[in-house]
Amino acid sequence: MTVSSLSPSTAAHGRIDWSPYLVGAGIGVLSWVVFVVVAAPIGITTAVSQLSGGLAVPLVGAEAVAQNAYWARHPMRLDYGTLFLVGTFLGALASSLAARTWRLEQVPAVWAERFGPSPLKRYAVAFIGGVIAMYGARLANGCTSGNGISQGLQLAVVGWVFLAVMFATGLLTAFILFRQPR
C-alpha cells in the first residue's frame, strides 16, 4: 500500500465515491437537459472573466472597463453563466458536507510528496497556474467544460483541438514537474 492511499482523503473517499463512469454519464445527461431547457451549453470561464472585469473597475475605473472591447460584450452581471458558477460551488459544497469529506486542504498529498509541506510554495504555483490557465482558456474561448466537454460532444473541431493540445502540454508539464531528480 502506498503512502497516498493511506491519506485521509483517499480513505474517506473509498466509502462514498460514485463510479467515474456514472459521474461522466450524469454530466452527459445534464448536457442533454441544458441543451433542451436553456439552450446554453455547460461552461465556466466566461463567467469568471466577467468577474475579472468587475475586479478591474477599481484599478482602471468603470469608464475604461465599460469601453473595453472585451468587457463591453461580457459585462459583470448576475446572468445565467454566473449563476451556474454559483450553483457549481453550492453543489460541490453540499456533496462534500453530505459525504463528510469537507476539510481544509493547504497542501495535497501528491504535491507534498514531491515538493514538501510548505503551503506558500503550493500557493505560489497554484496562483501562477491559475493566471496561465485562465488566460489560455479565454484565448481558446473555453475551458475543459465549455470546450472539452460541451464542444467535444458536438464533435466541434475547436473542442477536439483543445482536448488534444491541452493534454499534450499538460503531460509535458507534469513530466517536467514530477520527474525523479537524479
Binding site: 465556466i44 475586479l55 453543489g91 496562483f127 488566460y135 467544460s145 458536438q154 483543445f162 493540445v165
Partner: protein
C-alpha cells in the same frame, strides 16, 4: 416552452450548476491528487469522466438535434487563439492542479490552494481583458475555420465518430481497469 429565458432560466442555472458541482465532487475530480495523477498516468478518473460525458452527452444531443428539439451550439475554430490558448491551458491546469470548473468546486470542498489559484484566474481574466483589443486583430484573427465539426471536415457521419470513440473508450478502460488505475 423551450428554451426557457428570464427568471426561470436564472433559477435553473443554479440548479444545473448544483448538479454539475455535486457530480464533480462525487467523481473525485475536486481533488488535486486525482487530476495530477491523470497527467502522470497513475489514475484515469479524469479521462473516464470526460470520455463518458462526451459519448453519452454527444449521442443524446445528436438525437435531440435530429428530432428538431435542440440546435447545435458550435463555436468558431479560430485556430490561432485555440492552439495558443489550449497549449497555455494545459500548462496552467497542471500548475494549478485544477481546471476552472473543478477549481471552483474544489474551493467549496475546503481546498485553500484552489482558492489562491482562483485569485490567479481572476488576474488572468483581467490581463486577457486588457490585452483583448490587441489580441482580437492578431492571434484571434489568425486562421479561422469557422463553426466546423469533425463530420463537416471529414465527411464521416457523426454516429461513426461516436461508435469509434466508444470502441476506443472500452478498449482503453478495460486495460486501465485491469491494472486498477
Amino acid at each position: 416552452m423551450f428554451p426557457m429565458t428570464g427568471t426561470a432560466a436564472l433559477v435553473l442555472a443554479v440548479a444545473f450548476g448544483f448538479a454539475f458541482g455535486w457530480l464533480l465532487d462525487r467523481g473525485r475530480v475536486t481533488h488535486y491528487d486525482t487530476i495530477l495523477n491523470q497527467f502522470r498516468f497513475k489514475d484515469f478518473t479524469v479521462l473516464k469522466v470526460m470520455l463518458t460525458a462526451i459519448i453519452v452527452g454527444g449521442v443524446g444531443v445528436l438525437a435531440l438535434v435530429d428530432l428538431g428539439l435542440v440546435k447545435m451550439a458550435v463555436r468558431d475554430a479560430n485556430m490561432g487563439g485555440v492552439l495558443l490558448g489550449s497549449a497555455l491551458f494545459g500548462v496552467g491546469m497542471v500548475l494549478y492542479g485544477y481546471c476552472p470548473g473543478t477549481g471552483v468546486a474544489a474551493i467549496a470542498t475546503g481546498s485553500v490552494h484552489a482558492l489562491v489559484g482562483a485569485a490567479g484566474m481572476l488576474v488572468g481574466g483581467m490581463l486577457y481583458g486588457f490585452n483583448y483589443p490587441w489580441l482580437k486583430d492578431t492571434v484571434l484573427a489568425w486562421w479561422n475555420l469557422g463553426r466546423v465539426t469533425l463530420p463537416d471536415i471529414t465527411g464521416v457521419p457523426a454516429l461513426v465518430f461516436f461508435a469509434a470513440l466508444a470502441v476506443l473508450a472500452v478498449a482503453l478502460f478495460s486495460v486501465v481497469e485491469s491494472r486498477r488505475l
